[in-house]
Structures are given as C-alpha cells and as structure tokens.
C-alpha cells in the first residue's frame, strides 16, 4: 500500500494541514472507522430516530459498513479503495469501480471511466452530524484521486458518479463536472460526469 502527501484545510483558519492519501483501505483504517466513526454515526441515528426525522432525510451513508465493502472488494480487480488520514485520524474513505459504467456525455459516449461508488467523510467533518467541521478538502482530494486513477488506467481522467441532491452543487460547481440529470435506473439520483478536458481544468494548479 502506498501513500501520497496531500493537504486538507482546517475549518475556520483555512490553514493547510498535512494529510495522507492511501491507495487502499487497510485493517488499521477499518479499526479507526469502527472505533471513531461508528459511535458518532450510531449516536446520530438515535438522535434522528428520537426526533422522528423521516428516514429519507437521513444522511445516506449512516449505515454503510466499510468493513463489508472493503472485504468484498479486496479480491476484485475492478474495485479500487482509497483512504485519507490526517493527524492519525481517518478523514475519508472511497470506493471506485473501473467497469461499472461507460460515459454518457455525447462527446464521450461509450468510453470507459472511473466510477465513484461510495464516498464517506468522517463525522467530525460534517456539520449536519457534528454541528461543526474540522477539515475541508476530503471530497476534492477523493475526486482528484479518482481522476488520477482514471488517467493511470488509460481512461484519460474521465470519471462519473451519482450524487445526493445536497452534494450536487459541489460536483457541478467546485469540481466542474457535467450534470446529466436524474437517473431513473439509480433511485433518480443526479448523475455527473467529468471529461478529460474538465479533469485537466480541475487538476490545474490555481
């Protein structure tokens, strides 16, 4: 397993903080997920239940079992995992599929892309769960990791994903991806794609 040096931004001060992007999810990462994420997520579930918040309004990933996702995906060549750590804490997890979809944009139709299956950010980086946010930049670094994987696999930076409505502006605005609208084959979630040109623009230093 290899790691790359990346930066996150501390909330409030916006200072850059050294972090690590790992090209797999290790047993240590899973231990951190179980010991630090799961208790906060379980607490959130109890809070939502007692407040009678409709289940369709809950954060979708509250029940994602990263242990099962990691175990199942480890033997499959098509699935690539990433983890982000900072200060010894687990900040984000992602699973990318290299054969799930081909591109739908007319200019790219039928060409291979890296599809982001699952992205989770640590509960303390999510105001809707923790009330505050420690770090920014997990999503951007995960998108960049998927682009880099796409390039390394010969897909020229093409990526795709389905997004919850609350994250749509991040993918279209911050990431500059093309919105292709709700996907009736995928719970009507909005589908987004990034072309090689958009990937170059996204990765270009500011």
């Amino acid at each position: 397993m290899e790691k790359s040096d990346i930066y996150l931004q501390r909330s409030g001060t916006r200072e850059d903080v050294d972090a690590e992007l790992w090209d797999d999810i290790s047993d240590l990462h899973l231990d951190l997920w179980r010991s630090t994420w799961v208790p906060m997520l379980d607490h959130t579930v109890r809070r939502l239940q007692s407040a009678a918040v409709p289940r369709e309004n809950w954060p979708q990933d509250l029940h994602w079992d990263w242990g099962k996702k990691t175990d199942w995906s480890r033997s499959l060549l098509t699935l690539q995992r990433f983890a982000i750590t900072c200060g010894g804490a687990l900040q984000g997890l992602t699973l990318v599929n290299l054969t799930k979809l081909t591109a739908r944009l007319p200019s790219q139709r039928g060409k291979d892309l890296a599809y982001i299956e699952f992205v989770s950010t640590a509960p303390w980086n999510r105001p809707e769960i923790a009330g505050v946010q420690q770090f920014h930049g997990i999503g951007i670094n995960m998108v960049r990791a998927a682009i880099e994987l796409s390039r390394n696999e010969g897909f020229h930076g093409r990526i795709g994903l389905h997004s919850l409505i609350q994250a749509a502006s991040f993918y279209s605005g911050t990431c500059g991806m093309s919105a292709l609208g709700p996907d009736r084959h995928y719970d009507d979630l909005d589908y987004f794609e990034m072309t090689p040109t958009q990937a170059d623009a996204f990765c270009r230093p500011a």
């Binding site: 060549l77 098509t78 290299l98 054969t99 039928g110 060409k111 291979d112 696999e153 010969g154 897909f155």
Partner: protein, 64 residues
C-alpha cells in the same frame, strides 16, 4: 507472458481499443476485470442479465 491472438481476435481487440479510446493492454485488463466480477457474482449465487432497454426482455448471461 506473451498473448497469442488469431487475426480475428486481434481485429476485435483493435476495434474495441479504437472505439473505447483505450490502448490494447487496457482493453485486455478491462476484460479481465469484467470476467472476474461476473464470475464472482455467479459464485455468490447471483444471476447476470442483459436487458433490452425498449422491451425490457432479459436474457441471461451464461458463464460456464
């Protein structure tokens, strides 16, 4: 390893590489990923179908 292909197989490989904007090595790697994924699904007791978008008719993809 050396991969020996017939003319027809090589033509199919080159056609896919051109259509998909991939080099031939990547096409082979994608084929292996897909084959492994389908095999895994079948081992788990799942079925893999091809569905006609218009008629919704399904045909089962068989792997022996």
């Amino acid at each position: 390893m050396t991969l020996n292909l017939t003319d027809a197989e090589m033509a199919a490989l080159e056609d896919l590489a051109a259509k998909k904007d991939l080099n031939k090595t990547v096409v082979i790697r994608q084929a292996l990923r897909l084959y492994q994924m389908v095999d895994q699904r079948l081992r788990e007791g799942k079925k893999v179908f091809i569905e006609d978008e218009m008629t919704k008719a399904k045909s089962e993809l068989m792997l022996l």
